[in-house]
Symmetry: C2
Subunit: 191 residues, 2 copies
DNA sequence: CGATTATGTAACCAGTGGTTACATTGATTT
DNA sequence: AAATCAATGTAACCACTGGTTACATAATCG
């Protein structure tokens, strides 16, 4: 038996949410299920997260950081010439391994996009994507190719996890196809 | 006052759903709200759609068809040389005008992806995207460039409507940036 | 006209996000 | 050490949701 007080319920809830979300799906995730998994009443959860939105925001922030870490690792392992490609492949790899966490990071309607932690996490992620010029899209012509690269990678990730591509292909083969496909973009960056 | 029987409740519900979804968001859309908007009890709706999933599937099918139509129009208006670019821009344009309908078409977790109407509609859409080789990704090397193009366009659409890009830029300017960005891909297709 | 069938309503169920009043605990102060 | 107080838990409740069932009404067809 545990004590009346939990210890670190806030973190426990996040952990349970992270585990549950890949089980039951992003839309079916409920605060009550997280609370029950943590062995606690659902109202206890609201003591640590004002509402569901806040829980999801916290999870999104953590996921964005995980993603940035993952990409960072892969990026540092690659040699300079293939870095852009490897970053893209890591991006897609994270999405395919954690589809719902990946979706959560970008579904700004169900989270608090103005949250400071979330913004910091996504900024870290954007920085990891090469150069932060990807986000400054207004009058910087260089960013147009960066936007193109990001879009291609993001699009592949989305199409892949949403099942819009042929779905009876094993993940490894898919990854190889993505790699080949992305490679074709090289002439764009050569210029 | 209307008669006891509605006339074409199935279609009315779809219409109301289509209108409501862009108002309240995809996740907040409820069968009860659609039914009320159609002036009918929520249980009447279940007479025409077995469950929410079926309603959303029907709406997704209709949206995919609308999208295919829209792209088809734009495509036929363009001259041969710029067709690929125009198709892509139409794809993004539809997404930005109807973000939630666009999302619905690709959110296969909340719809019945094996539904025949849905499959027919998405196949039409895929065909409209140039050549249907986009979907046969296994051992057809040509499709790698098609996949790249689709991904780039799809990624731009998603990033744009999800607010991951700089959001204080008016839509028209965004579209111009997208056009410029996509244009950079030309050398890939020249080969 | 009468029976059948399609389509609507009313009342109900379990589950959800969220709130409020109350109970329990751990830490602080004296 | 005892009293106090804020942090953290529970229980009971609310409105709403998707979904079901029994019943009422209307249209249709013999």
């Amino acid at each position: 038996m545990e004590s009346y007080h939990h210890g670190d319920l806030a973190k426990a809830l996040l952990d349970k949410a992270e585990a549950l979300v890949e089980e039951v799906g992003l839309d079916a995730l409920s605060i009550r299920a997280c609370a029950k998994a943590a062995g606690v009443t659902h109202s206890a959860a609201f003591r640590h997260y004002r509402n569901k939105r806040h829980l999801l925001t916290a999870l999104a922030s953590r996921s964005a950081n995980r993603m940035a870490d993952f990409i960072g690792e892969r990026s540092s392992q690659a040699n300079k010439s293939s870095q852009l490609l490897e970053v893209g492949m890591a991006y897609i790899g994270f999405a395919m391994t954690n589809p719902n966490l990946f979706r959560l990071v970008f579904r700004e309607e169900i989270i608090d996009a103005s949250d400071q932690n979330y913004r910091a996490a996504t900024r870290r992620l954007a920085d990891q994507l090469g150069d932060s010029r990807m986000k400054r899209t207004v009058d910087d012509p260089l960013s147009e190719t960066a936007l193109l690269a990001w879009s291609a990678v993001h699009g592949m990730a989305c199409l892949s996890i949403d099942g819009s591509l042929q779905s009876d292909v094993p993940d490894e083969n898919k990854m190889q196809i993505f790699r080949n496909s992305l490679s074709k973009m090289q002439p764009v960056f050569a210029a």
